[in-house]
């Protein structure tokens, strides 16, 4: 036995140990920041967090009001994000199925479509807000739940499409061939086989987009408006949680600032709840997935 291989083994082991420490530190930092964010928000919101916060609309205006709650923003955000996510889904699923079952991976249409989706994904949400605002003016629409939904749907669409596209492109050709060889059309294979096979991934994509949509402030700033009331129609302006946080945090009054943290806590909890529900549904959908 010579010394050189031993030395190199020692070096390899050292590298291994060093990397393990680095990985543990990274994981620790990520986990710690998450806990710190949650902890700060919850701790700061405790003074303002009570039942009427969840069940009442603000009294004395959303900007200066120290009474009442943020029901307007909770309902507004949920309606807006659900509507936008539904709209984005109706656009995304057919697009992704088209790309993955009618178009070859290297076709010009597919390559350019994926490129544009990537570009759209990177567009800042304030740009969507500005674009939505222009469209509203052209259509003669007021700042409203509907205008907000349409804008947020545009913001969510590329995220959802690309996320679903990633899992859809992993469907093995043999699976599509198996369906085709039974006499299925591409449409039948797409909706009966590919959708089932990728159901958990589709769910993840939808949740990702929903999270982005419900948490975004800039895109709804001009398009959904803000109001003290719970929206009663699609053409009414709608309050949203991110904007509630923005406005309340912008006041000089500590009591109102506390309410901003309560709003943030509610928003975080909604996203958490949706994620948990999504995970449960997704686990159920995994049952039939072919490995």
């Amino acid at each position: 036995m010579t010394g050189a291989p031993n030395g190199s083994l020692r070096r390899r082991k050292r590298t291994d140990a060093a990397f393990r420490i680095l990985a543990a530190v990274s994981a620790g930092i990520v986990l710690l920041s998450l806990l710190l964010i949650l902890g700060t928000i919850l701790w700061k919101s405790i003074p303002a967090l009570n039942l009427s916060m969840l069940t009442r609309t603000p009294k004395g205006g959303f900007y200066l009001g120290k009474e009442g709650g943020i029901l307007n923003a909770i309902v507004g955000s949920l309606e807006l994000a659900l509507g936008a996510t539904a709209l984005a889904f109706v656009l995304s699923l057919p697009l992704v199925l088209y790309l993955n079952s009618y178009k070859r991976r290297d076709s010009k249409t597919a390559v350019w479509t994926r490129f544009f989706l990537d570009v759209l994904w990177g567009v800042p949400s304030i740009v969507y807000g500005a674009f939505g605002f222009v469209v509203m003016l052209v259509l003669g629409l007021r700042a409203s739940l509907l205008a907000g939904m349409l804008t947020v749907a545009l913001l969510e669409f590329p995220i959802m499409s690309r996320a679903i596209d990633e899992v859809m492109s992993l469907v093995p050709r043999e699976l599509k061939d198996a369906s085709a060889s039974l006499g299925a059309t591409r449409f039948e294979t797409a909706f009966k086989v590919m959708v089932r096979q990728t159901a958990p991934g589709i769910m993840t994509g939808v949740l990702l987009a929903f999270g982005r949509g419900i948490g975004d402030a800039a895109s709804v700033l001009f398009t959904a408006g803000f109001t003290d009331r719970v929206p009663a129609a699609l053409t009414d302006p709608a309050a949203t949680l991110p904007l509630a946080i923005f406005f309340q945090l912008g006041t000089p009054f500590p009591e109102v600032q506390q309410r901003a943290y309560a709003s943030a806590a509610v928003l975080t909890l909604i996203i958490l709840a949706i994620s948990l529900i999504g995970r449960a549904l997704s686990r159920k959908a995994t049952r039939h997935v072919v490995k």
Binding site: E174, G183, R196, H288
Partner: protein
């Protein structure tokens, strides 16, 4: 032999890009017999099989010249309805590929596509073909479970039942036992031997012993060229072409 030929391959050439994988193949497939296509890997066996139900359509950059006549109709004619062609053939792939649904739904999938709606008729159809595929006793109590929970050998027989359930005339097997253990392979071979009473069977294999066990008609493909074909007993006993002889004796593989 009754002389029927449900499939006639005429002057078939297939190109992947600029690579020619099948060279002017002419072959008649006899009815209700097992035709086995043998040859070393990469010789175009699978391509030939996939050309029979136009699964080649889904492979990028493929060009097909020549014709495949199925029941008197050229399947590569522009007006031919591809789903109707595929309904006439059940395919067993190398690796069994179950659909992401329950055992029952896997078999019911094809019949449903082709318009069978009645629940009772579907149940009967599913049970019948699971029996034909020799799987019924093993799955009759768990029809609602995901098909992916079956063993690989069971999955291949499920694929057989699924293919038969659309009531095809022809069964295509693309090395259908290559992913299976010996027992399951034997089981699948036995099914194929039973099925040739009612169906025309075309099987691709690189296992010579399997070809000896099941083939009525043998075709030897080498480097994209159909070197020799004929009744299996004749080809095995007295190959005419030196390349066939070399392959059968294991000199080329």
């Amino acid at each position: 032999m009754n002389g029927e030929t449900p499939i006639s391959i005429r002057g078939l050439s297939v190109y992947y890009g600029s690579l020619q994988v099948l060279k002017d193949v002419n072959l008649d497939i006899p009815a209700r017999q097992i035709t086995v296509i043998i040859g070393p890997s990469g010789c175009g066996k699978t391509t030939l099989l996939k050309s029979l139900n136009r699964l080649l359509d889904t492979v990028e950059g493929t060009r097909v010249r020549g014709s495949v006549i199925l029941d008197g109709e050229d399947i590569y004619a522009p007006r031919t309805e591809v789903t109707r062609i595929r309904k006439k053939m059940g395919l067993l792939s190398q690796k069994p590929q179950v659909l992401p649904m329950s055992i029952f739904e896997n078999v019911a999938y094809g019949p449903r596509l082709h318009g069978l709606r009645s629940k009772k008729a579907l149940e009967e159809r599913v049970a019948h073909y699971l029996r034909v595929a020799g799987l019924w006793d093993e799955v009759k109590d768990r029809l609602r479970e995901p098909a992916s929970t079956l063993s690989v050998g069971q999955q291949q027989r499920l694929c057989l039942a699924r293919g038969l359930a659309v009531e095809p005339e022809i069964i295509l097997g693309d090395e259908p036992t290559s992913a299976l253990d010996p027992r399951s392979s034997q089981n699948v071979e036995r099914r194929l031997l039973e099925l040739k009473r009612d169906y025309t069977v075309v099987v691709v294999t690189h296992i010579l012993r399997q070809a000896r066990r099941i083939a009525d008609h043998l075709a030897f493909l080498y480097l994209g060229e159909l070197v020799e074909h004929g009744p299996a007993a004749e080809v095995f006993a007295a190959p005419k072409d030196p390349r066939t002889k070399a392959y059968l004796t294991g000199e080329i593989s």
